[in-house]
Homo-oligomer: 307 residues x 2
């Protein structure tokens, strides 16, 4: 579902807190500052962007990248009177951070996360009156296996999809405000339920990540496999790229979206078992058919993305 296009106008924030100023949070800061410096950015040129990180190195990286105008380790200080709070911490820390934020931010603030799982977060926030009135879940389908503000880019969200997952009590005006903000940084916004989002992400992101880890994991590192490493080509490197992602972030994702991931993993194992059995039975017509059906799906998805 695409949000209504009419009556959606971007309102520049005055004071922004970015909690967790890593790759995503830092890129959001850079994109916002670039937006403010455009002629149409208007009065927002002197927007304050406060980065929050526990580690001094992360705060330094965020400041040095230009993603934030100041940095602190205190969530409450950063949120004080903020009218936009962006929560870009690992998914298992988001709910607690929303609750801390809403107690200190302005009454007309928008609190938004950038997490790649949504259902358990949206469910938890729906239990709290003030939080559910100020919070909207967002997931920009952007990023990479790299982490940290030093990899942040102002154009990270350009032409990328951002999914908004409003809960039962999220005001429509908040969804419109979030939509306008993401469109202003040139992202494509779609809305769906948090449950739909999580099920879909299990199949297009979470299980592909686990499968990429598997491919790297079964490449044993003993000397007998030295041959294998020297034969690695672009196929293996691309297929396993995401396996270089942060294990802590991905453990949190697995925890938060466990049921959908397990159901997709079952499909994955079933497919491979079927393929192996066809191969073992020398049923090469069936092997070809499996490869062909997958080629068709992949080419269709690629065509849809390039449209």
């Amino acid at each position: 579902m695409k949000p209504e296009a009419s009556n959606i106008h971007f309102v520049a924030p005055r004071r922004v807190a970015i909690i967790g100023a890593g790759l995503l949070g830092g890129s959001f800061g850079l994109a916002l500052r670039e937006l403010m410096n455009q002629p149409t950015g208007g009065s927002g040129k002197d927007v304050e962007i406060i980065g929050v990180s526990r580690s001094a190195a992360s705060r330094d990286a965020a400041l040095q990248s230009g993603a934030v105008t100041s940095a602190t380790d205190c969530v409450e200080d950063a949120c004080q009177n903020a009218d936009l709070i962006v929560i870009a911490v690992p998914v298992d820390g988001i709910v607690a951070m929303v609750h801390r934020s809403v107690n200190h931010c302005a009454d007309d603030a928008m609190v938004m996360d950038l997490g790649s799982t949504k259902a358990s977060i949206v469910r938890a926030i729906d239990q709290n009156e003030r939080a559910s009135r100020l919070f909207v879940g967002a997931h920009p389908i952007a990023g990479s296996e790299k982490t940290g503000a030093s990899f942040a880019r102002a154009d990270l969200f350009e032409n990328k999809t951002v999914v908004l997952t409003p809960g039962a009590r999220t005001p429509a005006s908040l969804v419109q405000r979030a939509t306008a903000l993401w469109r202003a940084v040139r992202a494509n916004v779609i809305c769906m339920s948090a449950e739909q989002h999580d099920q879909a992400m299990a199949s297009v992101s979470h299980v592909p990540h686990i499968v990429a880890s598997m491919l790297a994991g079964i490449l044993k590192r003993d000397s007998a496999q030295h041959d294998a490493v020297s034969l690695v080509g672009s196929g293996w490197l691309d297929t396993t790229r995401v396996a270089s992602g942060d294990p802590d972030l991905w453990t949190a994702i697995c925890r938060e979206n466990s049921a959908a991931i397990q159901s997709e993993l079952t499909s994955a194992i079933d497919w491979l078992t079927q393929f192996s059995s066809k191969l073992n039975g020398e049923d090469f017509a069936a092997v070809r058919e499996l490869l062909l059906q997958s080629q068709i799906v992949r080419d269709q998805v690629l065509a849809a993305k390039q449209r």
Copy 2:
């Protein structure tokens, strides 16, 4: 094992037959022609490069790309007096093509395939006295999911690894000649047994391909999955890239390297089953450890490749 560096000199061929002038064969032709046009290419400037394809469209593409100087559908005509024969057909057609070639080529010819499986080919060739004296198996770890000479590139082999897999009866001089040829087109040459090659390729290429197909295959194309397609990001696209490869080529690879592939598929299924069981048991320390070990392997391989 790296071949001896000393006494390896590139001798320009006079008449080359490229059987199957698609992406790999066409790129070989382009690379060879570029080499011949260099000042050091010497007298080879008027080398004949004859492309062989059954389909008129493939012959046209090869001619148009500049990969060949002439094209025919007759293997025997092309091989007549050729001193270099490059066989770039799907792996299950290579042995028959070697046998047809050796009956017509010059007595001092080198016959080389470019297939991505080796053991069954090398075993079969070893049975034939003339073929085993003229043939050396080669596998350039290069290419892409694209097919056809229109995607051929003169620099496809630059800085890529080429594996030579001499059989029991392959003359050492032939291995040296093949080494010199590949080095001349700026590839890195390594030698190993065909069995080692096939086992290693199962883990770094064949099973990654099958796993990429699986990921595309389980993304069901019904309307319920419409959400999933709109959430596809660079992770899914990279992880599944090779699944766009030609199903016929890959069915042939699965057939030729079936045993090694089945053994690797068992490891793949075991890893995923273990992961799923840890997730189901909420053993997130074990989940993290699996992701961490894989991250370490991937980063080590990447570092080794970039060295």
